[in-house]
């Protein structure tokens, strides 16, 4: 659809811009002495009005011949030919017919070349105007697209974050705090602090590209400390972190979902509780993370899988084929192995979290 014809406000503006042009043409005709001002006006107002609409057709030409991709010579020839034809029809035929109607035929024929020239020029101007308009529209659309893309990215980030903080975990933890306020206020406060620490660091991690594995481990530890208060002796945790592994850079929220998965499918499904083992090792240029838990084979899968799928996706995006993830069930043990290239522990890795905040 034509951008000007489609919008009444734009059309009104466009026609308003034609008023001085029409007056100018009428003035030119009057100044030749062949027409009085009134006659020139009577002729030019309707004739100019018609040409204003004729010039809108330049848009179709412009769209057919985009500036960027068309050969400049071909473009010039076509546009000028169109200008010639429309001007010829306008000044030669329509104007003549109207002048005859007004009884101004002889004068008109004398001044027709002026009108023809003006029509030619105006059509060319209209083409230039439409090209400018199209360029403007394109850049505005590109801007809107970029904006939308950034909104979408932001939404995806929020969604990921929401998926990250399991509402079950959150509300059950709050319920534990509620229980402790009566029986053990000090413990209730401790749990409040643990939960706040956990939420704060998860929120902060979302917008960083890489974090030291040590920070990720700290997040998992605060998560497990909360779960330990909830499940008591039913939850046992074993940890084995190789020296030098904590400084390696990893995409954020890589380890935490694995640990969370181990809890929801381990201890939460087993009456007798479950033990979780986290082992992080480094062999040369590769880091290996293993999270293992005992689980109930008969338990329904339920909410599972989303966390693991997220980790897999993140690994794929960050490392491509260089990373691997393996999920295995060995008897009553559920094991996830993640391997990825060790990234140089640069300045970022040594920067302490406190400094990160003041940045």
């Amino acid at each position: 659809m034509h951008p000007i014809l489609a919008d009444p406000r734009k059309l009104a503006l466009y026609l308003a811009a034609w008023i001085p042009l029409v007056l100018l043409l009428a003035g030119v005709l009057a100044s030749t002495g062949d027409f009085t001002w009134i006659q020139a006006g009577e002729l030019m107002v309707p004739l100019g009005g018609i040409y204003a609409f004729v010039c809108l057709s330049a848009w179709y030409l412009c769209r057919f011949l985009p500036l960027r991709t068309s050969a400049i010579f071909y473009l010039l020839v076509t546009v000028n030919a169109a200008a010639g034809v429309s001007s010829l029809i306008w000044a030669g035929a329509i104007g003549w017919a109207m002048a005859s109607g007004l009884g101004l035929e002889p004068q008109y024929l004398r001044e027709r070349p002026i009108l023809f020239g003006a029509g030619f020029l105006l059509f060319d101007l209209a083409a230039a105007f439409h090209y400018a308009l199209m360029a403007f529209e394109t850049s505005r659309q590109a801007q809107a697209r970029a904006m939308q893309a950034s909104i979408l990215a932001r939404e995806a980030e929020l969604r990921a974050l929401k998926a990250q903080i399991d509402p079950h975990f959150l509300f059950n933890s709050l319920n534990s705090i509620s229980a402790l306020t009566a029986s053990d206020p000090a413990k209730a406060r401790e749990m409040c602090v643990l939960l706040s620490d956990f939420l704060r660091s998860s929120l902060k991690m979302g917008d960083r590209e890489r974090i030291p594995l040590g920070e990720e481990l700290a997040l998992a530890r605060s998560f497990l400390a909360i779960q330990h208060i909830r499940f008591g002796s039913r939850l046992e945790v074993e940890e084995e972190v190789a020296e030098g592994a904590a400084g390696c850079l990893v995409p954020p929220l890589l380890l935490q979902p694995l640990v969370e998965n181990a809890v929801t499918h381990g201890v939460a499904t087993r009456v007798e509780g479950s033990s979780i083992r986290i082992a992080i090792s480094r062999a040369g240029e590769r880091v290996a993370i293993r999270v293992e838990n005992t689980f109930d084979k008969d338990a329904r899968r339920g909410r599972g899988g989303v966390g693991l799928a997220n980790v897999r996706k993140r690994l794929e995006v960050c490392y491509g084929d260089a990373a691997s993830m393996e999920v295995r069930e060995i008897g009553d043990r559920f094991r996830v192995d993640v391997r990825f290239p060790a990234e140089a522990t640069g300045v970022a890795a040594q920067r302490r979290p406190e400094e990160e905040e003041t940045k």
């Binding site: 709050l174 319920n175 499904t269």
Partner: protein, 248 residues
């Protein structure tokens, strides 16, 4: 004053503790048992015959809905849950009392009050409630059956077929029969239609168990299972089978 005998079921000790605490100002309610999982709950209900159950939805082994299926609709239940949009919808639809964790004394008292009014009335049919609480397009993964104090869990992939017997269904799995109080139509809607077919008014069969279909009379056929069992196939049942097996 009539004493209301209550059982608290939750796998987290702290969660049971809250309910206990909230019951302190209500001397008319006596907590006769605390259970940390569904099995214990089923056993406690069978042995102690309580009036009221505070029942957590998410628990190991048996979840709250499965417990309800096993204990039947005669005990008043107040469900406890942290977050489960489908369960909440089911509670609303069936007007079942529930408490969202964490809760305060005001909400707890209100729920208790409603539960008291309902003492003696029946709960909605447990299997219907459980079906309503499943996420859309999620099917039953296992069936729980109670035989006296014993609870059996039948994973759906191990179910051979189900046969209607009055108000019960007979479930055949790994050479054993189980009886469950449920209508066959209700069971049919809970099972994955891609794996289980209603081949007859009285029979649902696990597709994987069918070895062959043989003609029986002019209008009917029999399905022969891998272990030689023969089940009648009605005309409409045969049409369903054919559709599922893609003209097999």
């Amino acid at each position: 004053m009539n004493v209301i005998r209550a059982v608290i079921v939750d796998d987290e000790e702290l969660a049971r503790q809250v309910v206990h605490e909230m019951l302190l100002p209500h001397p008319e309610v006596e907590v006769v048992a605390e259970c940390a999982n569904g099995f214990e709950a089923v056993k406690a209900v069978a042995e102690l015959n309580p009036d009221l159950l505070f029942l957590d939805v998410q628990m190991p082994k048996l979840d709250g809905f499965e417990v309800l299926e096993l204990i039947g609709p005669d005990v008043a239940v107040v469900f406890l849950t942290a977050y489960d949009q489908y369960a909440l919808r089911a509670f609303e639809v069936h007007a079942v009392d529930y408490l969202l964790k964490p809760f305060d004394a005001v909400r707890f008292d209100a729920a208790l009050e409603r539960a008291k009014e309902r003492l003696g009335t029946k709960m909605p049919p447990p299997s219907e409630l459980a079906a309503a609480a499943r996420a859309p397009s999620q099917y039953l993964e296992r069936i729980v059956v109670r035989d006296g104090p014993k609870v059996d869990i039948i994973p759906c992939e191990r179910l051979d077929y189900a046969e209607a017997q009055d108000d019960y269904v007979l479930l055949r799995s790994q050479g054993k029969n189980y009886l469950k109080q449920e209508t066959i139509s209700n069971l049919e809607t809970s099972l994955d239609p891609a794996r289980f077919v209603r081949i007859h008014r009285s029979y649902i069969v696990n597709l994987e168990r069918i070895a062959k279909i043989e003609p029986y009379t002019k209008d009917s056929r029999v399905a022969v299972l891998g272990d030689g069992t023969k089940l009648p196939v009605s005309r409409s049942g045969y049409a369903r089978l054919k559709e599922l097996l893609g003209e097999g």
